[in-house]
């Protein structure tokens, strides 16, 4: 978005000279579309991070060679010199404060994080230390975390988020104690909190960081859900059928998470946690709507309801769902409810197996209709997504039905024509709306 604003600001003087805008209009536009240059641009971060990653990877490869001919103290010096150099560089950047160039700040912070990892790696190589890579990763991430706070480094924040997510997945093990399991993920993720000082936190995140946060919390919390199942049941393989449900409930919580209060003036469509978890919930909903496997799905749900993780998630769904209802975010609510509908089928007992596919199909149909209807009533909807959902639902049910190929083929043609016609209609309506705008 910043690049669009920057382009606009560059054009304003010329437009003023050409007489297209008055001086007052230029001033208003400059104030309204002011860019925040203290935040690094995506290209700057990528270039800086790539450079730092290459140097870091080179350093690790040099260490990997194992300089046998040198004495232990000399080899230890190799470990600490890059760390010291990057620490000095970071200190120099800190001294410059806000005047420091964004990409330099990013690069030095990431280099220091990599040099820290390289230092621990070379020490463990010199002393032939055993140990597992997740332990190494855990300490590396912890030692890198303060750099996110003090250097305000997006690159190290992304690196940290990726690292703790990978660590959490590696810790889903029936033998791990709770403090060494993936249940530690939320605490590790909270470590990033000082990156957004003040209360309530100012969640002004760059797009890349938003995505990193979404992916990391999704993976990390799903891993934590797995660990919670192991720890609660105390069984090595117990409740394996419940895992998919633990993930679905976790995704529902993340989907409803009110990270950023909805702003009516905000032109952005959705935050990544809404887009990603919404898509995953829809895919899960489609999966459950098939007749095959209904019994397993309900058995899994029954097992999941015996686990505290599920009840915690359901409590959060209610807590986050209430403000969403108050704000009339119907699209959000109806998609989140996909996780709750199968409970109705479960409550029906033996008949639930037959009812579940129909219930889910109806629910998905309702989502499709609602997403279209909201747009027609002037609210925030997603008509094309709604139409796609309905089409996909019809196709899925046709595949499952025992109708003849001829009937199926005709239905597909009709649905295809209706879909294309709807697309054309929406394009026209969109164009008309644009023309009507002052």
């Amino acid at each position: 978005m910043n690049s669009h604003h920057r382009w606009l600001l560059e054009q304003l003087p010329q437009w003023e000279r050409d007489g297209l805008l008055t001086a007052d209009a230029v001033r208003v536009l400059q104030e309204r579309h002011a860019t925040d240059d203290s935040q690094p641009g995506v290209a700057q971060v990528i270039m800086g991070s790539l450079g730092a990653l290459l140097i870091g990877a080179g350093l690790i490869a040099v260490i990997g060679y194992n300089w046998d001919d040198f004495s232990r103290p000399v080899r230890l010096l190799f470990a600490f010199l890059p760390l010291l150099a990057t620490q000095i560089a970071s200190f120099r950047v800190l001294q410059h404060g806000d005047a420091a160039v964004a990409w330099v700040r990013e690069t030095t912070a990431l280099l220091q994080a990599l040099a820290t990892g390289a230092c621990i790696a070379i020490v463990s190589q010199i002393y032939n230390l055993g140990g597992e890579w997740p332990d190494f990763l855990f300490w590396w991430m912890l030692l890198s975390l303060p750099l996110v706070w003090v250097m305000r480094s997006h690159a190290v924040a992304v690196f940290y988020l990726a690292g703790i997510a990978v660590w959490s997945v590696s810790q889903v093990d029936p033998l791990e104690r709770w403090y060494a399991s993936a249940l530690m993920y939320p605490i590790l993720a909270l470590g990033l909190a000082p990156f957004w000082p003040g209360w309530p936190p100012r969640w002004q995140l760059s797009r890349s960081l938003q995505w990193a946060l979404t992916l990391s919390t999704g993976v990390g919390l799903c891993a934590a859900a797995g660990s919670s199942a192991y720890l609660w049941t105390g069984a090595r393989y117990g409740h394996g059928d419940a895992w998919a449900w633990l993930w679905i409930f976790t995704m529902t919580v993340l989907f409803l998470l009110p990270v950023r209060p909805p702003d009516l003036n905000d032109t952005r469509r959705h935050d990544p946690q809404v887009s990603l978890n919404g898509c995953l919930l829809l895919i899960a909903g489609f999966g459950i709507s098939f007749k095959d496997g209904s019994r397993e799905v309900l058995n899994g749900l029954g097992s999941a309801l015996e686990l505290p993780w599920t009840w915690g998630c359901l409590a959060l769904v209610i807590i986050f769902g209430i403000p969403a209802i108050r704000q009339k975010r119907w699209g959000l609510i109806v998609v989140a409810a996909l996780a709750l509908t199968p409970m109705l089928a479960l409550a029906l007992g033996a008949a639930g197996t037959r009812v579940l596919p129909w219930l889910m199909s109806l629910h998905l149909l309702l989502i499709g209709v609602l997403l279209i209807g909201l747009d027609f009533t002037g609210r925030r909807g997603s008509p094309r997504l709604g139409a796609t959902l309905i089409c996909a639902l019809i196709i899925a049910r046709m595949f499952e039905s025992e109708l003849s190929l001829l009937v199926k083929g005709l239905v597909f043609i009709v649905v295809g024509i209706a879909f294309l016609a709807f697309n054309i209609l929406m394009s026209r309506l969109h164009r008309q709306k644009q023309l009507l705008q002052p």
Binding site: G64, Y65, C119, I120, V123, N128, L143, L147, V150
Partner: protein, 183 residues
């Protein structure tokens, strides 16, 4: 310049030094003051992308008897007392939940337990080698691992901590043998 970020940075930089330095200190103490224990072992040749080539060292003894009345769970940290035999090689003679008051002992992790026996995970499992020597090490291992003398892991032990100091064959250090072979 604000003071708080600098203080946090200084603490972080100190922690970044303290973590490896504490490792160095404890392992140097073990190498300098620890008792030398020799263990017969086997080892293939894997690779660690972060730390380079290493020989996966596995002492031959991988299980020991569980004392009567002691209940061990998988993943527990326990203490293995090592006793050196007439051949100069050490073996685990007992397991205990608390550190023994005397003798040489190593902190190990328990694996599965069965029939009053427990499998154990040694605190060392790798010996890093120079990339250039690695192919030669491969051959050396293949030739000698099944010999009667066997490859010996020389481990320094102090207060339950063990550091793998060297590998040897017939009393000759591993690196020396390899360097002679490379020539």
């Amino acid at each position: 310049m604000k003071a708080l970020p600098l203080i946090i940075f200084a603490l972080a930089a100190l922690a970044q030094w303290a973590a490896p330095l504490s490792q160095i200190w404890t392992h140097e103490q073990t190498l300098t003051h620890g008792t030398l224990i020799k263990l017969k072992c086997s080892a293939p040749d894997p690779y660690d992308p972060l730390r380079g080539r290493y020989l996966a060292v596995r002492p031959d003894q991988r299980e020991a008897s569980v004392p009567e009345g002691v209940k061990l769970e998988q993943g527990m940290h326990i203490y293995a007392t090592l006793t050196t035999g007439a051949d100069g090689l050490a073996t685990i003679t007992s397991l205990s939940v608390k550190p023994p008051t005397s003798g040489n002992f190593v902190r190990v992790k328990t694996g599965y337990t069965y029939d009053e026996k427990a499998s154990i995970e040694w605190p060392f499992d790798r010996f890093y080698i120079n990339e250039k020597l690695a192919p030669e090490a491969d051959e050396w291992f293949a030739e000698n691992i099944r010999s009667a003398k066997g490859i010996i892991a020389e481990v320094r032990v102090l207060n339950g901590r063990a550091v793998l100091a060297d590998l040897s064959l017939d009393g000759k250090p591993f690196r020396e043998i390899l360097k002679q072979r490379v020539r």
